[in-house]
């Protein structure tokens, strides 16, 4: 493959939207209200729609028989490079919202910059996606505030979720060798530079939500290198079930 770094760079973005979209899809019909069900399904739809755009582009770069679906469904666990954050389970609505919020703030900052990528395809996808993500961010921030400043129970649950998930935030700002190559070419976004804004924005919302900002300096990483948490295998065994069981068919 000629554009191996670009290909890898795209996966680094789109595996996040794929896995977060997949996780949200688990909740359809099981949420706390019809309104939140609709919103979560909608976010899942947006994320998977974005994933399709990225993977269609990646498939073109890869050539051969690659399609959006071979990329989405036919890699082994070690080849998925999403951050650990997005694969975390929907333990309760606070965890679902917490994960979404911690990702959305990052996602928005990323797309803001990616709009200016020298790669026209990426910049177009970013341009189209940022409107959706702006809504995601508003939705998840609003719920963080509602739960944080709602009842005692909701406050405890929301705080627990933020505390649990905090350790996965630092990885958002790590870069791989392919990322660095793309940054150097003005195609990729240097996520390291987003870190300060990210924690400022997240902290501002947590403040409004009357939640404590975790102080832990211990972070987890691995997803970007394909070393996932034990949740990932179960996500994939469902997600890939049809493609693995009935290979090479049209659906």
């Amino acid at each position: 493959m000629k554009n191996k770094d670009l290909y890898n760079y795209i996966l680094g973005i789109a595996d996040n939207t794929l896995i977060l979209g997949q996780r949200l899809g688990e909740l359809c019909g099981h949420g706390p209200s019809l309104e939140t069900d609709i919103a979560c399904t909608n976010i899942s739809l947006d994320l998977l729609g974005q994933t399709r755009s990225y993977f269609q582009y990646a498939a073109k770069l890869k050539g051969e028989d690659a399609t959006e679906d071979t990329i989405a469904f036919l890699r082994t666990e070690r080849q998925y490079v999403n951050v650990l954050l997005v694969e975390q389970p929907n333990i309760d609505f606070a965890h679902t919202i917490g994960k979404q919020f911690l990702f959305d703030v990052y996602h928005y900052l990323l797309l803001e910059k990616l709009q200016h990528s020298k790669d026209v395809n990426l910049s177009a996808i970013a341009h189209k996606s940022i409107k959706e993500v702006s809504y995601h961010q508003r939705f998840s921030s609003d719920w963080v505030k509602r739960l944080g400043d709602g009842t005692d129970e909701s406050k405890t649950r929301m705080q627990d979720a933020i505390n649990d998930l905090w350790r996965y935030t630092d990885e958002l700002f790590h870069t791989t060798a392919s990322d660095e190559a793309m940054i150097a070419q003005g195609i990729g976004v240097d996520v390291k530079e987003l870190k300060t804004s990210y924690y400022e924005r997240v902290s501002a919302i947590l403040d409004l939500a009357k939640l404590d900002i975790p102080e832990s300096k211990w972070f987890q990483e691995g997803g970007k290198k394909g070393i996932h948490t034990e949740h990932m295998g179960y996500i994939l065994s469902d997600m890939q079930y049809m493609q693995r069981t009935y290979p090479n068919m049209t659906w």
């Binding site: 899809g25 706390p32 019809l34 993977f55 493609q243 009935y246 068919m249 659906w251």
Partner: protein, 318 residues
């Protein structure tokens, strides 16, 4: 109110319906009209949200990104339908909480078809094609029903349902022209969903209650058996077109009636499922009740937060 006065109001009311005028929430209406509409609209709303579950079951396992997105969109539409229908129902003076309570305690019904399991991907096709197909036949006449909010909700619902129906048929078509395994999967889904779909039109006319009254109020325009026949006549050629076989050895074109004759429906199975003993009744109800109970703290938090915000704003206003 005097009995005479009521009689006169009732007369005016029935006349308005005869003239095809819409009844609106603030209009006077007979209590029975209100109750019948609450029953029917809520049953319809409940069917939408319970109906999210069998399809929701395949979101994580959809075989392509395109299908996954389409399935999510479909389930989202169903949630949306639930939302308008609950809103329409609420205009009759009942709250969403009361409606859920009726569902969760088994007092209110929902469409029995959702008590069957979705066990292969082809079931996503069969549900769209057959279940949405049957639903449309039941629902299209309701776009002209007498109660305004319900009629307007149905216009929107029917438009989306017919999109879902085409999408389901397209899934079946893709499978039917796929590999032998895929074709088998499609045929198997048709075999399992065909009879339950016919049951969606309810008991035979001889056994059906409510019909006369419902006809008068335009909650029903054709009988169960007429609608069922319409569904069969419409669906059989669609199956033939994609090379699938309707699992009914007695199915035969009747030249004289210009319609299909068909075999006997297993009414024991029908009543078993209606009475709550279908393959998935317990699971569907557990899923709804768990979602509601596990979500209580979230809804409470939203209310508490809204109240705090109001308080805060009113303090600022002083």
């Amino acid at each position: 109110m005097s009995e005479e006065k009521i009689k006169s109001l009732e007369k005016q009311f029935e006349d308005r319906i005869l003239r095809d005028e819409k009844i609106e929430p603030k209009d006077w209406m007979p209590e029975k009209y209100r109750q019948t509409h609450i029953r029917q609209i809520s049953q319809h709303a409940h069917s939408e949200i319970v109906g999210m579950l069998p399809e929701g079951n395949w979101i994580t396992r959809a075989p392509s990104l395109r299908r996954k997105v389409a399935l999510l969109a479909k389930v989202q539409d169903e949630a949306g339908h639930g939302l308008y229908l609950y809103s329409a129902c609420e205009t009759l003076g009942i709250s969403r909480e009361e409606l859920y309570e009726q569902l969760h305690t088994g007092k209110a019904k929902y469409s029995s078809i959702f008590n069957y399991p979705t066990i292969t991907w082809a079931d996503m096709g069969a549900i769209g094609w057959l279940v949405d197909g049957a639903a449309i036949i039941n629902q299209v006449p309701l776009c002209n029903t007498s109660y305004g909010p319900y009629a307007r909700a149905m216009v929107r619902v029917c438009k989306e349902e017919s999109f879902h129906q085409r999408q389901g048929y397209e899934i079946m078509m893709t499978l039917a022209k796929g590999t032998p395994e895929q074709k088998d999967m499609a045929q198997d889904a048709l075999n399992r969903w065909w009879w339950p779909s016919l049951m969606m039109f309810g008991p035979t006319d001889a056994e059906s209650v409510h019909t006369a009254q419902s006809m008068k109020w335009k909650l029903k325009r054709k009988t169960n058996d007429e609608l069922r026949q319409q569904f069969i006549d419409q669906t059989v050629p669609q199956a033939e077109l994609i090379g699938l076989t309707i699992p009914d050895p007695d199915l035969k074109w009747n030249e004289e009636r210009q319609s299909y004759d068909f075999g006997e429906i297993d009414w024991d199975e029908f009543w078993q499922v209606v009475k709550g003993h279908g393959p998935m009744n317990k699971e569907r109800m557990n899923a709804r009740v768990s979602a509601w109970e596990n979500g209580a703290w979230v809804r409470d938090a939203a209310i508490a937060y809204a109240e705090k915000q109001k308080e805060y704003k009113s303090k600022q206003a002083i």
